[in-house]
Symmetry: C2
């Protein structure tokens, strides 16, 4: 047979909700616009394109030219648009109702703007679980693209073809994305690409490429290479001259049957399934892959996406809060709330690897912003609610007013895990703890940086990094009750180089509700001069309109006098310009919110900073501020020390 080469291209374009508008502008300027213009000049070259909701909305407002080109190419049949969850959520971790809603929102947008119904979707981060076919079939979707890795896990040899699977009898067609093509395009020369396409053609196969559109101009160095030096124009002419057939994915489905049936276990692309592992586990797993023959990759499987909720408590919290708000919103028909909910479901702030935005405060901020707007749009019941919002089989305490919202973990130090300020639509406690990352270790042990993958090129660990790769001793919650050694200094505290003298930080507190007061109570011990002194900590939390009062009572349960250095740790998501610390008052959010402490304490405070990797290198990122108001007190047997905290909205609702 002498069939022509068949080359299938899908470009996936995405910017997360909450990304800086300068990034959107630059992305269109350097990448999305020139890409569309170039393809428009080659009307015979068919391809599939996916634009996530934030890009589609932005195009409608700011990039009419792009939208017009796209409409033209869709109308002519040059472009097949792919659907997906509108705000680019990981579908498998969303409530089914929201999956349908997000898919429908995209279907309707494409129908309204392009007069088409998508037959395929771009699956966010290709996070696959075997129950997706039913979800997608319900939304009218026939196919998607996955990675080679998914197919390796099922022992499939021929990746130059597409397959079919099912769940509960609902079918889905799946195209495996060719990893080699992803590395060839647009980085290599045309002869290299041609010889690989020849290889695929010799097997009468399909050359299947699905990849990030940002590779065509936005990734470092690609603008020059792809446009200024003309790689893309040359590549498109090459396709035409060599008579390489381009087809849309739907055309392929309509023209040839699948190569076979498959059942794929949960997977994503190879790197993602390493990123989700703890550093030592990831290293061990990589070694296993290196040391075993290639055929072993069917059985050697990494972590799966849900495990990010174990690795990063902050990701888990965002996810479980989203589900809590989703249930509330889905009990109503409030469409404005639903749209805010969907905007808060984007994948980016939930994970971290080379990409992924967990470490990026502005993406987390945007997620909370939209979720809290959704939350505020649907009335809450008044008073305290005790329930297990995050499925850890421990009760949490939740309170929501017009100004503030609180979420406490009695089982973990009676601490606050979220303080919402609804007028600013902001989770004031949205900070990130410092934790060990795989690249911290690797970098320190291989300072010459040899043998790195393409993802790690050109990265240099910044000077003084050792200060940022210390691990926090506990999650950066608030109202964490410290008993410090007399010699613990701010520096030691800040660098996590101290020993906790009490057993309160992460231990369970009893709770009792006397509306409007929540009382947290624990009898524990403090090590004082080598002796374990029984101590009781009681915290009363009383929301009062625009103010939250927190009353502490520390009692010496021993029958003799003791000296205690007690502090209550608070962590706030604030940039330097927003916060001002004075003697017993901290102004937050540029003065709008005041955090006051009585009696007058010492206040240690310092910036929370993390060191993380991105596609450009290593970033030191300001995550917020830690405040530790503390007192040295001497208590005789049975004596109490009392302190009071207040968090007040100065402007009102």
């Amino acid at each position: 047979m002498n069939n022509p080469s068949v080359f299938l291209l899908a470009v996936h374009n995405h910017q997360p909700v909450g990304n800086f508008s300068s990034v959107f502008e630059k992305a269109f300027e350097d990448c999305y616009r020139p890409f569309l213009r170039e393809l428009h000049k080659h009307p015979a070259i068919k391809f599939a394109a996916h634009y996530s909701g934030p890009l589609l909305e932005y195009m409608g407002e700011k990039e009419p030219e792009c939208l017009d080109i796209l409409k033209d190419m869709v109308a002519s049949g040059q472009v097949e648009l792919l659907g997906g969850g509108f705000y680019e959520p990981i579908l498998t971790i969303l409530p089914e109702e929201d999956r349908q809603g997000q898919l429908r929102m995209m279907n309707e947008f494409l129908e309204d703007n392009f007069q088409i119904r998508p037959r395929g979707i771009w699956l966010t981060e290709r996070v696959w679980e075997p129950t997706l076919p039913k979800t997608l079939a319900r939304a009218g979707i026939e196919y998607t693209l996955l990675d080679e890795e998914h197919f390796h896990y099922a022992g499939i040899q021929n990746l130059y073809a597409y397959y079919i699977t099912e769940d509960e009898g609902y079918p889905l067609k799946i195209f495996p994305i060719d990893k080699k093509l992803r590395y060839l395009i647009p980085f290599q020369t045309l002869p290299d690409i041609e010889s690989y396409l020849e290889e695929i053609k010799a097997q009468n196969g399909l050359a299947i490429l699905g990849d990030d559109g940002e590779k065509f101009g936005l990734w470092p160095g690609t603008k020059k290479w792809v446009y200024e030096e003309g790689w893309l124009a040359k590549f498109l002419s090459f396709l035409e001259e060599k008579n390489i057939q381009t087809q849309t994915y739907s055309e392929v489905i309509d023209r040839r049957p699948p190569a076979g049936r498959v059942y794929l276990p949960p997977a994503s692309y190879e790197e993602m399934m390493e990123w989700v592992l703890e550093p030592e586990d990831a290293a061990f797993f990589k070694r296993l892959k290196d040391e075993n023959p290639a055929e072993a990759r069917r059985y050697l499987r990494g972590g799966f996406f849900r495990e990010f909720f174990l690795k990063y408590l902050e990701s888990n919290h965002l996810h479980k809060r989203m589900i809590m708000i989703s249930r509330k919103v889905n009990r109503t028909s409030n469409e404005a709330a639903r749209k805010e909910l969907y905007k808060g479901q984007g994948n980016d702030p939930l994970w971290h690897g080379v990409f992924g935005g967990l470490y990026l405060p502005h993406l987390r901020e945007a997620a909370y912003d939209h979720l809290l707007k959704a939350d505020a749009l649907v009335p809450s019941e008044s008073g305290w609610h005790i329930g297990d919002y995050d499925q850890d089989a421990r009760a949490e305490a939740i309170w929501q007013g017009r100004t503030f919202g609180l979420l406490l973990k009695p089982a973990f130090g009676g601490s606050l895990v979220e303080i919402d300020h609804f007028p600013l639509s902001r989770n004031l406690m949205d900070v990130l703890s410092r934790r060990k990352e795989a690249y911290h270790v690797r970098q320190l042990s291989q300072p010459n940086g040899k043998g790195k993958s393409i993802h790690e090129l050109a990265k240099e660990l910044p000077a003084g990094s050792e200060n940022f790769i210390r691990c926090d001793r506990h999650p950066r919650y608030s109202a964490l009750d410290h008993f410090l050694h007399p010699e613990t200094t701010l520096e030691k505290f800040q660098t996590a180089a101290y020993d906790e003298q009490g057993d309160f930080i992460d231990q369970p507190y009893d709770i009792r509700v006397h509306e409007p007061i929540l009382r947290l109570h624990r009898e524990g011990h403090v090590l004082v001069a080598g002796e374990k002194i029984p101590v009781c900590v009681q915290k009363e939390i009383e929301p009062q309109g625009q103010e939250i009062m927190i009353r502490y009572m520390i009692r010496n349960l021993a029958d003799k006098t003791t000296h205690l250095k007690f502090g209550s740790e608070w962590n706030f998501y604030q940039i330097a310009e927003e916060i001002a610390v004075s003697q017993n008052e901290v102004r937050l959010c540029g003065g709008r919110i005041r955090f006051e402490v009585f009696p007058r304490p010492e206040i240690w405070h310092f910036a929370l900073q993390t060191l993380s990797q991105s596609e450009k290198g290593y970033d030191i990122i300001h995550q917020g501020f830690c405040l530790l108001p503390w007192w040295s007190v001497t208590l005789s047997g049975g004596e109490e020390f009392r302190a009071q905290f207040s968090l007040r909205d100065h402007r009102g609702t």
Copy 2:
């Protein structure tokens, strides 16, 4: 701490729908009844018990004593009953509606008979997918038991504890079943068991055992050991004397929090995930596990249950037919049909390992019996339907009348894959092809049988086995169009030691419907004396009330005379007593159904037999009969040969 040992026992008791009543009788006599009697004498020993629906229904009818003992122990709090899908289906492969229905049926049965609502379930074959928590939460279920393997896959070290997971925010608690305890109990002596329980106690852990109740009397040798030699009585006294605390699973949940959160990928017990693999793959996978360190088992994962649908076409067909009938039934409120559907959803005939009933014709027969009853209870639309019932992206043709039902695969030789006879509620084509199994290979290469696991002890390959471990050249469908070499003999045909001369068997046929006729048409080639002769095969299928007519037309498309040896292969699920072959007539089902062929052919016929393993050894199983009516014909250029088949119900509906 000096906490007592805590020992959690769960016994799972199950006999599949359709198992011989003699097996039920023996199981109660040797196992279920003596077990309950013995436990009843030790009211302080708490445990959990699961009885699948078929056993509960049988108990109600035939074993009132067992039911009374059980009621008494449930009322006293000694026994916690576990729920589950009523007829022991694999939940993950059922439509969600039926999962809920089967779980609800069990809940209601337990409520009606024992006045309790189960809080936990026994998960059939522990076939887990990460979306089950939502399914189970909807049915009011709080916990289940899984295997160590599930937890190894998630990197969990401490297996002497329970965990919590979630899906879409719905929680589920999970207990890991201790594999070592499964091997100790009831097979080892009390000191061995005691020392292991001590080991667990030293870690302040839970000793968690969940296992088949049949180990206590029904497995080979256990009746003597467990009851006659008194192992069980001694073990229960031992628990009492050593003051080992037994608790129900619900008590544990109510008394202590889970050890942590987990997300588990799809899994079942270790052996199941090997059985689902093709023989060479299973061998390779086992080698990988042997050659890598123990820590690698987190990443070394076998197949998952759905892959049985790839390994065994017969399992896939039964599953997809079930889904087809489920959809039909679930569009109605016909409760009788729904109950038959559920009865046809049992796990046993869908898989094979050491256990599993795919190779057992009476279990497959029972599944089709109930599914076809469900099918017949809901009216079908008349005429031919073209659709993809099994999600292979190829159209099938389906026809259903009062007497017969037909299912054809035009894309695979225009063959019949199912012939239903509704009055007898029987799929006449329910045969099993011979295929390579892992133990065929192992057995032949290791005739001394050394180094076998406990599952394989005492197995001897029967004499003459080589005749049964040949692989069939194609699935045993019907109306398969053979062109034979003049020298192909019955023996060669039977042993699959022949070469097909035509390209019709597994190739696509065009279809056209002219109600009530379905016309299948293919122009292909036959190799005759080294030359490829173009030949057309046309089959017309015409259902006529109680009769199905099949008219063949074979045309020589060449312009010269050729000799063809043409046969149409039919495979029927019949035992020897039911079938009688005469010159051009075959009587099926004891004469009720007649299969006639004109003009008078030669008819080759032989029994279809398989060699499979079970817990008792190797079984040679009669799966049905193969019939090949054939003709030697000489056709001049353009000439046709015509033949006619008729399948008729002699008694009428």
